[in-house]
């Protein structure tokens, strides 16, 4: 019989930790489930932080340095909490050729932040993506999960201004 492995206690009563543990259990707490588990953490909590990295690293018996390394290596993972709204601007080649640069400028000016940042009031995050594969409707943006194609700076500004708390 394999020796019983002592697993760390859940960091809090938050039910989302059980979802995270569920992913690890599905993979038999194997070390290679690290990336899969971090995806679940980010899906459940919106971002990764020190507490979640520590919990996942201990549960899967990987060094914390490896968990941190993975979390910071992959662009998809973020250690910063996202804003209430997210605006993603695709910077793929097709979008770039059709004016994604102007869209990014517009979003940066309207929101007053750079790509990869969140507004001070945590209302909106701006992300630039490599390519979301929606090249047929270039230039494309993703506003709160909804892909909007063939858009222009004016339409984007209107949409972004609609997010501002009144």
């Amino acid at each position: 019989m394999p020796p019983t492995v002592k697993r760390p206690a859940l960091p809090s009563d938050d039910k989302r930790w059980r979802i995270v543990t569920g992913t690890m259990r599905r993979h038999g707490f194997a070390r290679d489930a690290l990336i899969e588990t971090l995806h679940t953490v980010q899906e459940s909590f919106g971002c990764l932080d020190k507490q979640s990295l520590k919990f996942v690293a201990e549960s899967l018996r990987v060094p914390l340095s490896q968990a941190y390394g993975v979390a910071t290596f992959y662009h998809f993972f973020t250690m910063k909490p996202p804003g209430a709204h997210t605006c993603l601007i695709c910077m793929g080649t097709a979008c770039y050729i059709k004016g994604a640069g102007a869209l990014l400028n517009e979003a940066e000016t309207t929101l007053g932040i750079h790509a990869g940042e969140t507004t001070a009031d945590a209302n909106a995050s701006l992300i630039s993506a490599r390519c979301i594969g929606s090249c047929s409707v270039a230039p494309a943006v993703v506003m709160d999960g909804e892909t909007i194609g063939n858009t222009g700076p004016a339409a984007l500004r209107k949409k972004l201004e609609g997010w501002k708390p009144s």
Binding site: A30, R31, D32, A33, L34, I35, E36, H39, V62, Q66, G69, V70, F73, Y74, H75, F76, F77, M91, G92, T93, A94, Y96, I97, K98, A129, R130, C131, I132, G133, S134, C135, S136, V137, A138, A140, T147, I148, G149
Partner: protein, 545 residues
């Protein structure tokens, strides 16, 4: 599952579909979905219910002509409707005279010039229903392979077809399968590389969203041929719909016994898992991808040993691209000779391209190898819109190059694209008109490579950053005459000394633009002039024109 049972499912599904007098098939792939195909489908369903029309509304995969989406195909009439919105539901369901204004001709070159092998079911079947794939002859090749043929015969058949890796490098698939099959090892793995990272390419996404079972069947057949019992599909996190449809496909395949142990009452056991990427371009490189599946940072390692000898967890691993696996069922069903009959001498079969950029018909196309760039861009693509002039076509993403007008009559195959300084790549084809500045394009790709460099080897990590700085200086007008020389030196150094394909090919966009558009570089440096008016390097083209 026996071949008879499979045929029974196929016959039943076909009979059931024949019962419905008329079908409206709505494209539910990402392109049309972003143009609200989902609300169109709901509106059609409601309209059918409300009016009591004998008509069945189905969700299908990509039909190719994404720029005119959302597309709706009517069967059995075969009429195709374009730019349909929820407001058009009554017209389409009622088949009124007003619907005629939405008709999109199937006679146009866009459809007529294509040869569909990988995309044969795309836009025809519901990707979330396994029986529809079976009704089109799906899984027949697998069942026959398992029950009637030996693994060696399968490898022979693939070799005979002349199929080469569709990820871009073009390594002969049969040879790769043979190498893995010959290795001794209790555990072997099959990996499908669906980390389609090239910006401007969406072929794999479309195949996974429109016909996922095809890829699964290819992988299972590969598993049988090389003696592997476990497979992974590594998909980009940016493709949530593809991940969802793969999940459904795997569940359904498992339910019918195509996955699991003792498949089709043979000794063959195989199971599949989806792994979601983390948004790192370098993970498209096979050794980095393997590291990522193992739960580590996606950094490549030197080859040899190649994954075929020592891959995932140091076991022999077969790793192929989505499109490569998607070719396999068709090859086994119709024979290697049939596939080898399509294409050119050294590049066989068809290739799927994502035709985007400044071209009229934007979308997904599949053409026989050897078709010329002119035919693809001007006949299928309909040429450059808004009366502008064609300037270059970019293939191969950040690892490829820009091909100028003088090579438009070049047949598209692995060798000829390489000869002109680009590569086949995974199939992204971005058309640029005279409003594009080639130095700016080179800088765009270098920025991409710089931030996607994993940082493991110095030539790539530092070299791409230096090249990016030089290109920035050229575009902002602060470069001196010596800088071009320095840029060329760096290109050579980075491509010769980098560890993996990312670094080795990172200079390609610069080298190809330097080769064909050198005068643009010189204008930027000597006259502070950007003829396209994109770069702010001092004087503007309008001022001197």
């Amino acid at each position: 599952m026996t071949i008879e049972e499979l045929e029974q499912i196929a016959t039943e599904t076909q009979a059931k579909r024949r019962e419905t007098a008329r079908e409206l098939n709505v494209c539910m792939a990402a392109g049309c979905l972003s143009l609200h195909a989902d609300s169109l489908k709901t509106a059609l369903e409601e309209e059918v219910k409300r009016s009591g029309t004998a008509c069945c509304v189905r969700g299908v995969g990509c039909m190719g002509l994404c720029s005119l989406g959302p597309l709706v195909a009517e069967t059995p009439s075969g009429v195709l409707y374009r730019n349909a919105t929820a407001a058009d539901a009554a017209k389409l369901v009622g088949n009124t005279a007003e619907a005629q204004s939405l008709v999109c001709s199937r006679e146009q070159a866009f459809f007529q010039r294509q040869t569909n092998v990988v995309l044969e079911n795309s836009g025809k079947i519901d990707p979330e229903k396994i029986e529809e794939y079976i009704a089109e002859g799906g899984y027949e090749a697998l069942v026959r392979a398992l029950t009637e043929r030996s693994p060696n015969e399968i490898v022979q058949e693939i070799s005979k077809s002349g199929l080469r890796g569709r990820g871009g490098a073009g390594y002969p698939t049969g040879l790769k399968w043979g190498t893995v099959a010959k290795t001794t090892g209790a555990t072997k793995y099959v990996i499908c590389n669906a980390d389609e990272g090239d910006p401007g390419a969406f072929m794999d996404r479309s195949v996974l969203e429109s016909d996922p079972h095809r890829v699964l069947e290819g992988m299972m057949t590969a598993g049988f041929a090389v003696g592997a019992s476990h497979g992974y599909i590594y998909v980009r996190a940016e493709y949530p719909l593809a991940v969802k449809r793969l999940g459904i496909a795997i569940r359904e395949a498992r339910k019918l016994g195509f996955l699991g142990s003792q498949i089709c009452n043979t000794k063959f056991s195989f199971d599949l898992e989806v792994r979601i990427g983390g948004g790192a371009f370098v993970c498209g490189e096979e050794t980095a991808l393997i590291a990522s599946i193992e739960g580590r940072r996606g950094t490549p390692r030197p080859r040899p040993p190649y994954p075929a000898q020592s891959g995932l967890w140091d076991m022999p691993t077969l790793i192929n691209n989505v499109e490569t696996f998607a070719c396999v069922p068709a090859i086994l069903r119709r024979g290697g000779d049939w596939f080898a009959g399509i294409g050119t001498k050294k590049s066989k079969g068809t290739k799927v391209f994502a035709l985007t950029g400044k071209v009229r018909n934007v979308g997904l196309i599949e053409v026989p190898m050897g078709m010329t760039l002119r035919q693809i861009i001007f006949e299928i693509g309909g040429g450059v819109p808004e009366g502008r002039k064609f300037k270059a076509v970019q293939t191969g993403g950040p690892s490829g190059g820009c091909i100028p007008e003088q090579f438009l009559d070049l047949p598209v195959d692995y060798e000829s694209l390489k000869d002109v300084g680009s590569i086949m790549g995974s199939g992204g084809m971005i058309v640029m008109d005279d409003s594009a500045c080639m130095v700016n394009v080179a800088r765009y790709f270098m920025e991409f490579c710089m931030s996607e460099s994993c940082g493991k080897c110095i030539p790539c990590r530092a070299g791409t950053a230096q090249m990016y700085d030089l290109l920035t200086r050229i575009t902002d007008g602060s470069a001196g005459p010596r800088d071009l020389e320095l840029l060329e030196e760096l290109c050579e150094m980075v491509s010769n000394t980098s560890l993996c394909g990312l670094g080795q090919s990172a200079p390609n966009p610069v080298l190809s633009t330097l080769r064909y558009f050198r005068e643009e570089y010189l204008e930027h440096i000597e006259q502070r002039l950007c003829r396209a008016g994109v770069c702010e390097c001092g004087a503007r083209s309008e001022a001197t024109a």
